[in-house]
Amino acid sequence: MENWVIYILNGLYFASFLFLTSLGLSIILGVMGILNLAHGSLFAIGAFIAAWIIGSLGAKAPVTIFFLGLFAALGLSGLMGLILETTIIRPMYRRALEYQLLITFGALLLIEDLIKITWGGTAYYASKPFDIMGNVSIGDNQYPLYFLFVMLIGIVAGLGVWLIMSKTRIGVMLRAISTDREMAKAMGIRVGRLNTLAFGIGAALAGLAGALIVPTTPALLGIGMEPLILAFIVVVLGGLGSLKGALIGSLIVGETRSIGIVFFPEIELPLLFLIAVIILVFKPEGLFGR
């Protein structure tokens, strides 16, 4: 029984990362209709910024430096998102999907090179927050408090996005754009400005997820590829552009992976695709897709 609690917690922990990453991807896709392949690089930027700050200052500085790393990653990834949207994404809105894929894939490569130029090709370690938070005992097992902290951040970020989307004027306008872009424009909503904002929020969430991961794994070139692939599975499975879908999709992928590794280790990765295929066969639009 204790083992099962740990398996479920592992799934929730992994789902938290997936949720933060896929939430951003889903907002960008839902509001702007842009399939952003550079999302993994925005995750990587967050990871490197946080690792650089925590690694450079963290050994002597108090744990609050970790929060500085988180906010810096959130802010600078968001800023990078704003720059991307206003420079290379904006001309793509009226173009076909393949143009979007090409331009965002180009952006992915550009950002990877930017990371390489800025931080070099080596690993950045920033494990202090993970180490000092300690563990909690669950029966005979121990579980790092940092993992629970990540879950908490996932819940807070999810609630924050839900509040913005459902309770604020900006959220209503974003949803209006997502539902009918032309109608929203006709109603006087400044779509261009809100597109930029949506891209910035999505990028910031990816950066936050990247920052949260570095206390448990070194920041390395290519760190954003795995989250990007899994976030795509989540978004497709949950339904394109659906926030609820991102949440449920993340939980399904997280828990399937966690339990799958224990009982079907030979098909660790194929299992996720298998689940996605089964769901898409019965619900081709995804669980909560329109």
Partner: protein
């Protein structure tokens, strides 16, 4: 033996440039020796292997040049990034041989890259010395016995993964003969699968009573090992074999510490030598660590083997870190080339051809900072292997191998004979 520079000679204050000893019948070019070194300079393999390996190449080339070069020719190294995949490396190697006309290519960490590039040695007539890639199938053929060498101008100047995994099983048998359950967590590609296969085959032969209770195959560059750690804890394994490397090895170790795995089981890392230094004092004690040979900054001891003293001190002075096994592998590659040229040059009385260098390298033994390296007739390095167990010792900023529990397994116990496949050799052992 002794065709390479001996420790005393290398360190001696009076520097002598070797001359061709036979009556000089051939000219020796005045131009520097062009050597291309290829390592991961970016990406996940850069920090643990690629950059340290490249650093060691630079250090060794400087030392060789300081000593007068090879027959008076200085070595001119050019470093290249191995990242980019097999196709990119094949194109790069073609360019080195056909356009740049390099004297030798010293390179490659990735087994996939080695397998793609080494056939070019004979196809294009260029000398290639693979320095760090570990797959045992690189120099082996489909069936035993097979004709050696597989490549006339292609070499690997280190032993393959066979020594790591056979060595680990021998260590377990020696120090933990009572264990009943083992598990494995290995990256899901050829390196991980091959490492496990050799470990499991040797384990079945030497400790047939031991049961394999879990085999996990995380994909390369996994950032979350929590589910794997839980599965391993749940399996009840006493010793867990792993060929994880680079960021994966560090990530797994950190997360496993947090989840208490090391209180319940011991890891047996087939190439774990770099990671205590990477992780620092948090690295757990009591873990089995293989050094991919006898490559360790504390072994052979500096008072008994001055060459290791020189290498460790020179590397540390220059790069502020202790050399990891990849650095020792780089030393082996460049000094194998040097020794082979000197041997061949002495015989032919001048600068030797690629084929003559190759013939001289086959069967060569040289002194290295780790001991003696022999290049077999199969053009593959044969080495002893050092296995130890991590321990926090006063005076060191990270756990080192417990000096009282280090074990050296001699080359003949861990390397298959030339012409026999490693797995066939293990299966032929008498229980």
């Amino acid at each position: 033996m002794g065709l390479g520079l001996g420790a005393a000679e290398l360190l001696g204050s009076s520097v002598k440039v070797r001359k061709a000893t036979a009556a000089q019948t051939r000219s020796i070019p005045k131009s520097p020796i062009k050597a291309a070194t290829v390592s991961f300079l970016t990406g996940p393999a850069a920090a643990p292997f690629g950059i340290p390996g490249d650093n060691a190449y630079q250090l060794c080339a400087e030392e060789i040049n300081k000593q007068g070069g090879i027959f008076g020719r200085k070595i001119e190294l050019k470093s290249f990034d191995e990242a980019g995949g097999a196709d990119a490396n094949v194109k790069l190697a073609r360019k080195f041989i056909l356009e740049d006309k390099v004297d030798v290519i010293l390179g490659y960490v990735s087994s996939g890259n080695c397998k793609a590039v080494l056939p070019l040695s004979d196809e294009l007539g260029g000398l290639i010395i693979a320095y760090d890639c570990g797959t045992h199938v690189l120099m082996e053929k489909e069936r035993s016995p097979y004709k050696v060498p597989k490549y006339g101008l292609g070499f690997r100047s280190s032993a393959h993964l066979g020594i790591d995994n056979i060595g680990l099983v021998r260590y377990v048998k020696q120090y933990y003969p009572g264990i009943k359950k083992v598990a494995g967590i290995n990256p899901d590609y050829a390196w991980g699968r091959d490492s496990w296969k050799v470990f499991e085959t040797a384990m079945k032969k030497l400790m047939p009573e031991v049961k394999v209770v879990k085999k996990l195959w995380p994909k390369l560059f996994t950032t979350d090992f929590t589910a794997h750690v839980s599965a391993l804890i749940g399996s009840g394994a006493e010793i867990i074999h792993s060929a994880l490397w680079g960021g994966d090895a560090v990530t797994f170790t950190k997360q496993a510490i947090g989840m208490g795995l090391f209180k319940k089981a011991r890891m047996a890392f087939s190439r774990g030598e770099p990671y205590p230094q990477e992780v620092g004092m948090d690295y757990p004690e009591g873990q089995l660590i293989c050094c991919a040979g006898t490559h360790y900054f504390l072994y052979p001891p500096k008072d008994k083997w001055p060459l290791n003293k020189w290498f460790v001190e020179a590397y540390h002075k220059k790069y502020n870190k202790y050399p990891s096994y990849a650095c020792y592998h780089a030393y082996q590659a460049i000094y194998t080339y040097k020794a082979a040229v000197e041997k061949a040059g002495s015989l032919v009385g001048g600068w030797p051809s690629q084929e003559e260098i190759s013939k001289a390298a086959s069967g060569l033994s040289i002194e290295t900072p780790s001991g003696i390296l022999t290049i077999g007739e199969d053009h593959n390095g044969k080495e002893d292997v050092l296995i130890g167990i991590s321990k926090k010792v006063k005076g060191h900023s990270f756990p080192i191998l417990d000096p009282d529990r280090m074990a050296i397994f001699p080359a003949h116990q861990v390397n298959a004979p030339a012409g026999i496949r490693t797995e066939d050799w293990i299966k032929s052992w008498k229980a």
